[in-house]
C-alpha cells in the first residue's frame, strides 16, 4: 500500500504524498520536539523536512525505505535547526518542564527540570542520537543507517552523548548545591 503511494508520489501525486505523511506526522512531530525542545521550532522543522521530502522523493531508490528515509531527513533538518538555535541564542518558547509526568512516574518535576537543562546543553548531534536510541528504540546500527554514518561513529556519538548528559547533570547538581536551583 505504502509502496504504491510512494510510487504515485514520486510521479508527482501530491495527494498520495499527503496520504503517506499524514499517519506519520504525530510520530515525526514527537521526534522533532524531543530534539529541538521547542514546539514552534519543531513545527518549522517538520514542515521543512516534509517539503524537502517531496522535492527529493525521486531520489529514494527503494520505496520500502520511505519511513527510514523520512526520519533521516527530519533528524538532519532538526540538527540544522538546533545548530541555528544555538548560534542565535534567541529566547524560546520551551516545552513545559512540569508537564505530563512520565508514564512510569520515574521522574519528579525537579528531575525533568534538571534533565531539560542538561539536554539543552548538548550539541544537536548528541541530542539526535539520544532521541533515536531512547525514544525510537534504535540500536547503534540503526542510528548509523539513519544518519548514514559508520556504526562505530554512531556508537561513539551515543556513548559520548551519555557521557555529556551525565556531565551536564553533574554540573547542574553542583550549581544547584552551591547557589540553589537556577531559573
Amino acid at each position: 500500500m505504502d509502496r504504491d503511494l510512494v510510487e504515485l508520489a514520486r510521479r508527482g501525486d501530491q495527494a498520495a504524498f499527503m496520504a503517506l505523511v499524514r499517519p506519520r506526522s504525530d510520530r515525526l512531530f514527537a521526534i522533532a520536539q524531543r530534539i529541538l525542545r521547542d514546539v514552534d521550532r519543531a513545527e518549522d522543522a517538520l514542515q521543512d523536512a516534509l517539503v524537502i521530502a517531496w522535492r527529493d522523493l525521486r531520489g529514494l531508490r527503494d520505496p520500502d525505505r520511505f519511513e527510514a528515509w523520512l526520519r533521516r531527513l527530519l533528524v538532519n533538518v532538526c540538527i540544522r535547526h538546533a545548530a541555528r538555535e544555538r548560534r542565535r541564542a534567541v529566547r524560546l518558547r520551551v516545552l513545559p518542564v512540569d508537564g505530563p509526568a512520565a508514564p512510569d512516574q520515574l521522574l519528579t518535576v525537579a528531575d525533568r527540570d534538571q534533565l531539560e537543562r542538561g539536554f539543552r546543553r548538548l550539541p544537536p548531534e548528541q541530542r539526535a542520537v539520544l532521541v533515536m536510541h531512547h525514544f525510537l528504540g534504535y540500536s547503534p546500527a540503526e542510528i548509523a543507517e539513519t544518519l548514514a554514518i559508520p556504526p562505530g561513529t554512531a556508537r561513539s556519538r551515543l556513548h559520548n552523548a551519555h557521557r555529556a548528559i551525565r556531565a551536564a547533570l553533574d554540573a547542574d547538581a553542583r550549581v544547584t548545591a552551591v547557589g540553589g536551583r537556577s531559573a
Partner: protein, 309 residues
C-alpha cells in the same frame, strides 16, 4: 565524577512517548508549499560507482599530466624551483573544499568546527566533564573536526583499514576483559569497568601494562605543553577476537569511559598527562594500513598542544 548509573533509564523516561499530536496546520502549510515546489531530479549515484572506464582514463591522463608538469618544474636547471629551499605544497594536500570552514590561520585559534578544516590553530574542549579545560592545536588542512565527540579525524575518517583519529578520555576504570565488558548484562555501554584505577598517570599506565588482553609497550616520559606524563602504545586484537565481543555491534572496550576499538588491529598511541589533577588521555587511534604520513601528522598535532586547565 559522580556516576549516575541510571542515566539511560532516566533518559528513557524523560524522552518517553507522551501522545504527541502534530498540529493540523503543519500539514496544511506543507500542502500549500509543495503545490508550488519544484521537484528535484533523482540524486546521482555515488561518484565512485558511476565513473566509467573512459572517465577513469581521462582522469588518469589528467593526473599524469599534472604530475609531469609539476615534476618538470621541480627539476633543477629546468626553470623550476628544484634544489632551492622554497616551500613546496604537499602533493597530498587537497584543495580547500567549497564547504570548508573559515581558516583560523590569520585570526588565531577558533573553536573547533564541524567538518573539513582549512588548517591552522583550533581550540578544543577535550572533556565534557571538565568544561574549563581547553587545548589549542595546530591542525593541517584536510583534517576533519568533530566538536561533538570531540575528536579530529584524518581525511579517511577513523575507520579501518587506513583511518586515523585523535580523541580524548579521562576514565577512572578499566575492563579486565575488554572483549566482555557487558558485566551487568544490560548491553549498556556506560559501565564502570571492573578495575578501579588509582588517580595518577602512573597508576593508569601500570594498570594498562598489567592487562594481557592486548599488547602494550613500555611507557616513556612525555610532555604536552607544560604538562608531563607518560606515553605508551596499545595493540588491540584483530577480527578473530573482536567478532566474539559483547554488543550488538561487537565492541572492545579497554576503558570504562571513552573510545573503544575502532576496528580490527587498532593501534592506540596514548599520551597520558596530569593537568592540574585531571588525568587527560589523548589517543591517536590508527591501523597498520594508515599512511605513515597521516600518523606523523597526528603526532605533530598532539605535540603542538597548548593546554589550559
Amino acid at each position: 565524577m559522580n556516576r549516575q548509573p541510571d542515566v539511560e533509564l532516566v533518559l528513557r523516561a524523560y524522552l518517553a512517548d507522551e501522545g504527541d499530536i502534530a498540529p493540523d496546520r503543519i500539514l496544511e502549510v506543507v500542502a500549500e508549499r509543495i503545490a508550488s515546489q519544484p521537484r528535484r531530479l533523482a540524486s546521482r549515484l555515488p561518484w565512485r560507482n558511476t565513473m566509467n572506464g573512459y572517465l577513469k582514463l581521462v582522469a588518469g591522463l589528467a593526473a599524469a599530466l599534472v604530475v609531469g608538469v609539476v615534476g618538470y618544474n621541480l627539476l633543477p636547471g629546468f626553470g623550476g624551483s628544484g634544489g632551492q629551499s622554497t616551500p613546496i605544497p604537499s602533493p597530498t594536500a587537497p584543495p580547500s573544499p567549497p564547504n570548508s570552514t573559515s581558516s583560523p590561520a590569520a585570526t588565531g585559534p577558533i573553536d573547533l568546527p564541524d567538518g573539513t578544516l582549512t588548517g591552522g590553530r583550533y581550540r578544543i574542549q577535550p572533556l565534557p566533564e571538565a568544561p574549563s579545560l581547553s587545548i589549542v592545536a595546530d591542525v593541517p588542512a584536510g583534517w576533519l573536526g568533530h566538536p561533538a565527540y570531540p575528536a579530529l579525524t584524518g581525511r579517511t575518517t577513523e575507520e579501518p583499514p587506513d583511518g586515523i583519529l585523535i580523541g580524548f578520555m579521562s576514565p577512572d576504570g578499566l575492563f579486565s576483559d575488554p572483549c566482555h565488558w557487558d558485566l551487568d548484562g544490560t548491553g549498556s555501554i556506560d559501565q564502570p569497568g571492573d578495575i578501579e584505577v588509582g588517580p595518577t598517570v602512573d597508576d593508569l599506565v601500570a594498570a594498562l601494562n598489567a592487562n594481557a588482553s592486548y599488547t602494550s609497550s613500555a611507557a616513556t616520559p612525555v610532555s604536552l605543553g607544560e604538562y608531563r606524563g607518560q606515553r605508551l602504545e596499545l595493540r588491540l586484537p584483530g577480527t578473530d577476537v573482536l567478532s566474539t565481543c559483547d554488543g550488538e555491534e561487537p565492541a572492545y572496550f579497554v576503558f570504562s569511559t571513552g573510545y573503544y576499538s575502532q576496528g580490527p588491529n587498532s593501534l592506540w598511541d596514548l599520551f597520558i598527562v596530569d593537568v592540574d589533577g585531571t588525568r587527560l588521555i589523548t589517543m591517536v587511534s590508527y591501523f597498520p594500513g594508515t599512511p605513515p604520513a597521516d600518523v606523523a601528522a597526528a603526532r605533530a598535532i598532539v605535540e603542538s598542544f597548548q593546554i589550559t586547565p
